[in-house]
């Protein structure tokens, strides 16, 4: 892991990995969405509304994966003082928040014809809305901390602690449909079992892979940007001192 502690080495890899992930992810996700819109048969009950599944479910997974990335990176930052971990955590926040917002919006559009309402305050929907608010709080906190001091300082540690504490919500989102009676349906896919017909399942998995590649590409792009920011600032500070 510490092989990547050297930002120069990380940047060399990120330079070609980032466009590769973004382009292949865009092609896969767009292909899966078009296939979902044009080819997939309508569902027995939902009809054509089922097509929103191919964007709603991957964004839900990535919204949760984003915070998991923040939490794991924050632990690595606090325990091993890994210089890139703090950068990775901050880079995952905005794409994670965007996917969470997409999930909430598409879910609401799906719910209107399916359930007969745009929004209900059940366990799953409420805990997912809390996830969006956590993201917004995290972004605000990390920007305030960045203004105060460079990574590794006390202010950066507060951001990391918030990232770890906020992870409590992730298992709650996952279990919300099991612990509490909720309007949202329970998980369709779990541990190698799926109650989604193959006609929907394969395009869904393909779409999820595509969106995951896009997510990874955006995180790498943002890490490069944050590293460039730190470099510029350090250079300006040296100039001001000279």
């Amino acid at each position: 892991m510490h092989g990547f502690a050297n930002p120069a080495r990380f940047l060399r890899i990120a330079r070609w990995l980032m466009p590769l992930m973004l382009v292949s992810g865009l092609i896969m996700a767009m292909g899966a969405l078009l296939y979902g819109l044009l080819v997939v048969p309508p569902d027995r009950l939902m009809g054509d509304t089922v097509r929103i599944l191919f964007i709603h479910v991957p964004s839900a997974w990535l919204g949760m994966a984003g915070w998991t990335t923040i939490a794991v990176s924050s632990i690595v930052e606090l325990v091993w003082r890994h210089p890139l971990a703090a950068i990775a955590a901050r880079a995952a926040a905005v794409p994670g928040a965007v996917f969470t917002a997409i999930c909430l919006a598409t879910g609401s559009i799906w719910a209107r014809p399916t359930w007969g309402t745009w929004w209900v305050w059940d366990g799953r929907l409420t805990s997912f809305l809390v996830l969006l608010f956590l993201y917004l709080g995290y972004v605000a906190l990390s920007q305030a901390a960045q203004r105060d001091a460079a990574a590794g300082s006390g202010a950066s540690r507060v951001t990391a602690i918030f990232g770890i504490v906020g992870a409590v919500n992730i298992p709650i989102i996952n279990r919300s449909v099991v612990w509490w009676n909720s309007l949202h349906q329970p998980a369709s896919i779990s541990m190698g079992k799926s109650s989604i017909d193959a006609a929907f399942l394969y395009p869904l998995l393909f779409s999820a892979l595509g969106f995951t590649l896009i997510f990874g590409g955006v995180v790498l792009a943002r890490m490069r940007m944050l590293l460039a920011d730190i470099q510029t600032e350090a250079r300006l500070r040296r100039k001001a001192m000279a």
């Binding site: 569902d43 309402t117 309007l183 109650s195 006609a199």
Partner: protein
């Protein structure tokens, strides 16, 4: 005297903090298990009936063959069950598209005597996603169709 590396000290501290957090989260979720439920199932409603007139939600399966439309054409009666008890429900208005017999429903309303009077119906979708062409087929038939089209 043993020397603990600061790295390991931080790791142990963090593990303690994370397990305390998870414990707190689980306890909170456990304490919320009744309050955070979105609806009552029929057996809850029969075992611990809420005071009449209080707004509650009732969730369950619409029993097969139980939907009956009254003479006025907009009022329907049906039974909502959970496999143990059935509660009669009355509703006046437009039902959601997914409101069908044998499917899940959440009704918002109140108890009036032994009948649940609903102001609003929400259809509950289950976790199964099946194409329209296959819904009337048995599993084996559907598998045969899938194999044919591959």
């Amino acid at each position: 005297m043993s020397v603990v590396k600061p790295k390991h000290q931080r790791l142990v501290l963090l593990l303690f903090a994370v397990s305390a957090l998870i414990g707190a989260g689980l306890l909170a979720a456990y304490a919320l298990r009744n309050q955070a439920a979105y609806f009552y199932v029929p057996s809850d409603l029969v075992a611990k009936p809420p005071e009449p007139g209080r707004a509650v939600r009732l969730g369950g399966m619409v029993q097969k063959g139980s939907i009956k439309t009254r003479g006025d054409g907009v009022t329907i009666d049906f039974l909502v069950g959970d496999g143990k008890v059935d509660v009669p429900v009355r509703f006046r208005g437009i039902t959601p598209e997914l409101f069908v017999e044998g499917s899940g429903v959440v009704a918002e309303g109140r108890m009036e005597g032994t009948t649940f009077v609903a102001d609003n119906l929400l259809a509950k979708h289950d976790e199964k996603y099946v194409p329209r062409e296959m819904k009337d087929m048995s599993k084996a038939q559907a598998a045969a169709v899938v194999a044919e089209t591959k």
